[in-house]
């Protein structure tokens, strides 16, 4: 009996602590606030920003936020990580945005973005892809304010201000996009791209560089000879020109897009932004609806969130997912370097993003659609931003090497005003100076000054795969002295056998005003292909007197995104 009482007492005592622990409801922990107003620094994101896995890169900001919280709040209750862990839940709605970003490459949707960007680019009347008006092969009389976004190639033939007719190929590129490509720094980001610093924002992002190659100018080198190989001419030739290339660099251009200064925190900017933002309603709604479609496609894969889960499936998910998310918080606490967190996240990803998910064609199509939406939204967002900060000014510098003429440095200011459905007007003002003036030159450094204007209007096919754009342009150039022509070494004076001394220059043509007008039709095909066809009239050209009517034709290809660069932008 005594033994039974003792056992009973022991059982009661054994159970007391357990009962006490269970009795009171657990009070919610007091969690320190999440520091959401302070932007993550480059150092805070260094552990994941350039990871080789697209999923780690896509979720990097969320991983960095979790790590920051763990480091700043040591010993905090694990429940406090919940909000930040949920953003890493790739199996639920909160992680779907970044899931799409991470899998875009897997589902080969970058080409889809490229196509969407090219479609959006097709609508733009402000991009300058070809050579300058003073090139020997050009279809442009007026330089446009906008530039290529990544890379463009243009081939133009026909002249507008020069006497020497030729064919020029021009390769243009944006410095920032190339920088992002080389450094693998988020090259296809949508909006609020993570800035790499002041230099990128204010220098690289605004600079476009282009080089023009005159395909009809053959380059050559002078070399001494060693006697005649044939013939009976008594005059000895001491040196000859040897051809060394079929094309010659005719100009280098650097363009800097000068945005009106703005501060995103200023009242003026906020007011302007608030006015413009409703214009994005359709695009963000489309992204939202199509993102929901991705969630729906994912719900076919266990344990992704689903409306039609059975009780067993739900219980399994409720057990598994919080456990995985909890392991992320734990990893952030244990290793301040973030390496354990990356490893834990990779494990989470690999467990759920199985080959079934990767091979789901319905999911691939849904992800592809969102990526296209994002591409179009990005264009619209940038347009709204541009509208909020004011009109665009571009400064252009052109180092020009015309055939048989002194090299020049041209400085140009370009201003564009878009009347939207009423078309766009572009103004240019520039000055050209000679690079070097030889001793005894009878002209100064100033080559000419010019002003010009162009009106562009989409004629037909707005929103269709092939569009046409009409451009009407006027150009006035004033030159204080006639043009200067270099006389090549070895040239013999007409009617004599007296060679002209090396470095001789002659004035050719007349000083004064040069007028040019041009009408141009640009056929804009899908996929970034443009074909400008122009007709111009000028009262003279740089070297020759008399009016001239000329025709210009070109072909350009605009790579709008990195995907377009490598895939041609047409494959899906």
């Amino acid at each position: 009996m005594k033994k039974s009482i003792r056992i009973l007492l022991l059982c009661i005592l054994w159970n007391i602590p357990y009962s006490l622990a269970q009795a009171p409801a657990e009070a919610p922990p007091r969690c320190p606030a999440i520091e959401s107003t302070t932007t993550l620094t480059k150092a805070e994101m260094a552990f994941c920003e350039k990871d080789s896995s697209p999923e780690v890169m896509a979720f990097c900001e969320n991983l960095a936020n979790l790590l920051r919280y763990a480091k700043k709040n040591p010993g905090v209750n694990t429940q406090c990580f919940r909000g930040l862990e949920d953003n890493l839940d790739l199996t639920g709605r909160k992680g779907v945005d970044h899931f799409i970003t991470a899998t875009a490459l897997t589902f080969a949707t970058k080409a889809a973005i490229s196509n969407a960007l090219q479609t959006a680019d097709q609508q733009r009347p402000d991009q300058e892809l070809g050579a300058n008006s003073n090139a020997s092969g050009t279809a442009s009389l007026v330089s446009k304010a906008g530039s290529t976004e990544l890379l463009s190639f243009a081939l133009d033939t026909g002249v507008v201000t020069q006497s020497v007719n030729g064919t020029t190929s021009t390769l243009s590129t944006n410095a920032d996009q190339i920088f992002r490509l080389i450094t693998k720094s988020d090259p296809d980001c949508i909006v609020n791209c993570k800035s790499l610093g002041w230099f990128e924002d204010n220098v690289l992002n605004r600079i476009t560089l282009s080089g023009s190659l005159s395909l009809s100018q053959h380059s050559s080198s002078t070399t001494p000879t060693s006697g005649q190989a044939s013939g009976t001419t008594p005059t000895q030739v001491s040196e000859v020109s040897v051809p060394t290339g079929v094309g010659k660099l005719s100009g280098i251009t650097a363009r800097y897009e000068v945005l009106n200064k703005f501060d995103p925190r200023s009242g003026a900017f906020k007011t302007a932004w608030a006015k413009k933002v409703p214009g994005l309603a359709t695009q963000v709604k489309t992204i939202g609806t199509d993102t929901d479609a991705v969630s729906k496609a994912l719900s076919a894969h266990e344990p992704f969130e689903s409306d039609t889960m059975t009780a067993d499936q739900k219980a399994k998910r409720d057990n598994l997912v919080p456990q995985m998310l909890g392991s992320l918080g734990q990893a952030a606490v244990e290793d301040p370097s973030g390496q354990k967190l990356v490893t834990a996240f990779e494990s989470f990803w690999n467990q759920f993003v199985t080959s079934d998910v990767k091979n789901d064609s319905a999911l691939a199509a849904a992800v592809s659609k969102v990526m296209q939406d994002r591409g179009i939204y990005r264009q619209a967002w940038l347009k709204v931003l541009q509208g909020a900060v004011g009109n665009l000014f571009t400064f252009e510098y052109n180092y020009n090497r015309p055939a048989n003429q002194p090299e020049t440095h041209d400085f140009k200011l370009i201003y564009a005003y878009n009347f939207k459905t009423m078309g766009m007007v572009t103004f240019n003002g520039s000055a050209s100076i000679y690079g070097t003036t030889p001793a005894g030159a009878k002209y100064g450094n100033l080559h000419y000054g010019q002003v010009s204007t162009e009106y562009d209007q989409t004629l037909s096919g707005n929103g269709k795969s092939v569009q046409t754009q009409l451009s009407l342009a006027g150009y006035w150039q004033y030159q204080p002295h006639p043009s200067v022509l270099n006389i090549a070494a070895g040239t013999v004076a007409p009617g004599t056998d007296i060679p002209v001394p090396n470095g001789t220059q002659e004035f050719v043509g007349t000083a004064g005003s040069l007028w040019v007008t041009q009408a141009k039709l640009t056929i804009k095909g899908s996929g970034g292909i443009n074909v400008p066809i122009g007709v111009s009239w000028s009262n003279k050209t740089d070297l020759l007197q008399g009016s001239k009517v000329g025709a210009q034709v070109g072909l350009s290809y605009n790579f709008s995104s990195l995907a377009g660069l490598f895939t041609g932008g047409s494959s899906q």
Binding site: N62, R82, P322
Partner: protein, 106 residues
């Protein structure tokens, strides 16, 4: 079960965010049609007229301005019922659209 906002089923309240601009908002309840929500409070507040039972989501179609930070989710005005945020408030990463707020009606 965790959620950003937990409350009594049927509660009428507003959810707020402190960054970004809401252009459209929808209540997504499992196996039910999506319902459009009213936006207010300088485009940073949406009204949930009746908190559904169980798990549901508010989808926010957002636009982010340059310099915007991550948004913290909170409860604004509670007109009827009881509603509270989780101890660790939910956040929406800047640049993300759509953003989701998870609700739990008990």
């Amino acid at each position: 079960m965790s959620a950003d906002i937990i409350g009594k089923t049927g509660a009428n309240f507003t959810c707020t965010i402190d960054s970004g601009t809401i252009l459209s908002a929808y209540l997504e309840v499992p196996s039910q049609p999506v319902v459009s929500l009213t936006i207010g409070g300088n485009n940073r507040e949406v009204t949930v007229p009746s908190l559904p039972a169980g798990q549901s989501w508010v989808r926010l179609d957002l636009v982010w301005a340059p310099g915007d930070s991550d948004a913290t989710v909170d409860v604004g005005t509670v007109t009827s019922g009881t509603v509270a945020t989780a101890p660790a408030k939910g956040t929406i990463t800047d640049g993300d659209t759509p953003g989701y707020i998870e609700l739990l009606g008990q």
